[in-house]
């Protein structure tokens, strides 16, 4: 499983998985998009690069997803997939996706509430609650 959506009374929660940190962060992009639409059904003809730097994993995840919400409002872009590279404190990603106008649904903000990042038996798990 790459990601799953979880129940949350007021907002939306997802988990993303990966065999390494890069793969888990890339799946988090799909997990967040899945809150508003099926990422597999989106076109991938728009591309945006993202670079964020932060001194721990949770901050990195927060900043990465926050930058995606920024692109959603400013470029009307919704990502379907991402290639992610992480070197030291810096994450570089190539996002490919579609026009958000085609899907609708709004994501307001990434939150730290219930955020979890775990690594066990070679499997990474990221959990995020998104304010919607």
């Amino acid at each position: 499983m790459n990601y799953e959506l979880l129940e949350h009374t007021a907002d939306a929660k997802f988990r993303a998985y990966g065999k390494n940190k890069e793969a888990a962060f890339a799946n988090a992009v799909k997990g967040m998009t899945a809150i508003i639409t099926d990422p597999e059904k989106l076109a991938k003809d728009r591309e945006f690069p993202v670079t964020v730097t932060a001194d721990d994993n949770k901050k990195l995840l927060f900043d990465f997803l926050d930058q995606i919400l920024f692109l959603m409002d400013t470029e009307h872009f919704v990502p379907a997939e991402a290639d992610v590279r992480i070197e030291g404190n810096t994450l570089t990603a190539a996002l490919r996706g579609d026009d958000v106008k085609k899907v609708g649904g709004n994501l307001k903000a990434v939150t730290y509430s219930e955020m979890e990042i775990t690594q066990q038996d070679g499997q990474w798990m990221l959990q995020v609650v998104v304010d919607i």
Partner: protein, 477 residues
């Protein structure tokens, strides 16, 4: 999931419950609820979240939970917390990502019967004039104009041809908070907001045509509410602008105060000490976002009025009031018999000042502040009036809505959009939505009963019933 600790919730009277301080809590938690509502709150983390807030530095009086409360991120939604100006804090999460999310209510002199025949046409016009959903553009403004909006709030709109001074005089704070400081607003917030002024957004935000279904006191007339007449309720906030202010300041505070973060049970409770430079900067930015929201609702109100006038050239459309329900305000309250200036955080809570308060517009000073409470889609919304008990019990606050009780995921499964639309049609409610899933997610069955939420507020003496409004048309994202 972590096991939920059992909280000792004690009944004070039929409408108030309490949790006495234990462990790190500095003050008790006070809960406005009846037996049924308090049971629902115990099913999620709302009350644990309120206990976490009770343990924050400088909190004064009680950590307050309103009758519509549900679990949020860090703080519960439907909470009030007041902090000492010396020892206390300010917290972006304690206000909410949608800073100055709020409600504006307009009255018309048209009856339901007059509007019914042209309802579809009217909804179509309003839908065009009030963009909903994502990826839609509002009023085009230059960076210089954006600065003016941040400082002037709804006053900017009036100066630029939207609405009237009379609208401004019927707004919380006159639609403009004076301590906004654009230089502390992050660039990313400006970019995110620059295409969004005059847009509704998605989620639970809406523009609704409603009818005054029942009036409960003579105050209704003073608010311009007449039984059988059509009114319009607008629910939205500061859009991406406010969300980005909140997100960016959470990160700035996190980097500046790693020790505070380490001490928190939930990182989303993050705060800056009120005396700090960062708190001052956030205060300037938050007020700028709040002004953006006031201006946003004002422009939407103007556009709604124009839509009415196109179809009913002789009608009059007046603003009743505009309230914030996600905000921090510097206010003076009586604590232990002494007047004290406090930083009052209302996250999903509405100010409910009684008659005589200087913070109420002159038109309502002898009556009390109008309190606007939107229900869920298809159910009633309410107008209340602030009562004296609010100053004694809840730092002048009451609830803000119905309060969700079901996740959007479950709602999508349980309430297919076509069924919801058909059910609403049976009740005479027409819906125009940007997406089908928006209809499912906001289905009335996903929310608590707003009438029950209001009854608690009324019985506890914090805000009294004035009028019940029922929808006849809904526009949403």
């Amino acid at each position: 999931m972590n096991e939920k600790p059992v909280l000792d919730v004690v009944k004070v009277n039929d409408f108030v419950y309490k949790i006495e301080p234990t462990g790190k809590m500095n003050v008790p938690v006070k809960i406005f609820a009846d037996e049924n509502l308090v049971k629902k709150m115990q099913q999620d983390s709302s009350l644990q979240q309120a206990c976490n807030v009770a343990s924050m530095p400088g909190i004064v009086g009680e950590s307050i939970v309103m009758s519509d409360a549900h679990q949020g991120y860090g703080y519960c939604i439907g909470g009030v917390a007041a902090f000492d100006m010396e020892e206390g804090i300010i917290s972006p999460g304690g206000i909410g990502f949608d800073q100055n999310c709020g409600v504006r209510l307009l009255t018309t002199n048209l009856t339901k019967e007059q509007v019914e025949g042209k309802k579809s046409e009217l909804l179509e016009k309003i839908y065009k004039a009030c963009p909903v959903g994502v990826g839609v553009d509002g009023v085009r403004i230059t960076p210089d104009e954006m600065k003016e909006v941040m400082v002037q709030g709804a006053k900017w709109a009036v100066a630029n041809g939207y609405g009237s001074k009379d609208d401004l005089e019927h707004c919380e704070a006159g639609g403009c908070l004076p301590e906004a400081d654009p230089k502390h607003v992050p660039d990313r917030a400006l970019h995110r907001g620059k295409r969004q002024l005059g847009t509704v957004g998605a989620g639970n935000h809406f523009v609704e045509l409603q009818v005054v279904d029942e009036v409960y006191s003579e105050v209704a007339e003073k608010f311009g509410l007449q039984k059988g007449n059509v009114v319009v309720m607008i629910h939205c906030g500061s859009r991406g602008f406010g969300h980005q202010v909140c997100s960016d300041y959470i990160r700035m505070i996190e980097d500046a105060y790693p020790n505070i973060v380490a001490s928190l049970p939930d990182k989303n409770l993050i705060y800056a000490p009120l005396k700090s430079e960062l708190a001052k900067k956030f205060w300037g930015a938050m007020n700028a976002a709040a002004n953006f929201a006031f201006c946003n609702r004002h422009i939407l109100g103007h556009n709604v009025r124009q839509a009415f006038i196109e179809l009913f050239p002789d009608c009059s459309v007046e603003t009743v009031y505009d309230v914030c329900h996600n905000i921090a305000k510097r206010e003076t309250h009586v604590v232990n018999g002494e007047q004290k200036e406090l930083m009052v955080h209302r996250k999903g809570a509405t100010r409910a000042f009684p008659a005589g308060s200087e913070d109420i517009p002159e038109a309502y000073r002898a009556i009390g502040q109008p309190v606007l409470i939107p229900g869920s889609m298809g159910t009633s919304s309410w107008v209340l009036v602030g009562e004296k008990g609010s100053l004694e019990q809840s730092f002048g606050s009451t609830a803000h809505g119905a309060g969700r009780m079901m996740s959007r995921m479950k709602a999508k499964k349980d309430f297919p959009a076509d069924d919801v639309r058909a059910d609403l049609a049976k009740k005479g409610i027409q819906i125009k939505a940007a997406t089908l899933k928006g209809i499912s997610e906001e289905a009335p069955g996903a929310y608590k009963d707003v009438d029950e939420v209001i009854a608690v507020s009324d019985s506890a003496g914090i805000a009294r019933k004035v009028a019940r409004l029922v929808p006849i048309g809904v526009i949403k994202g």
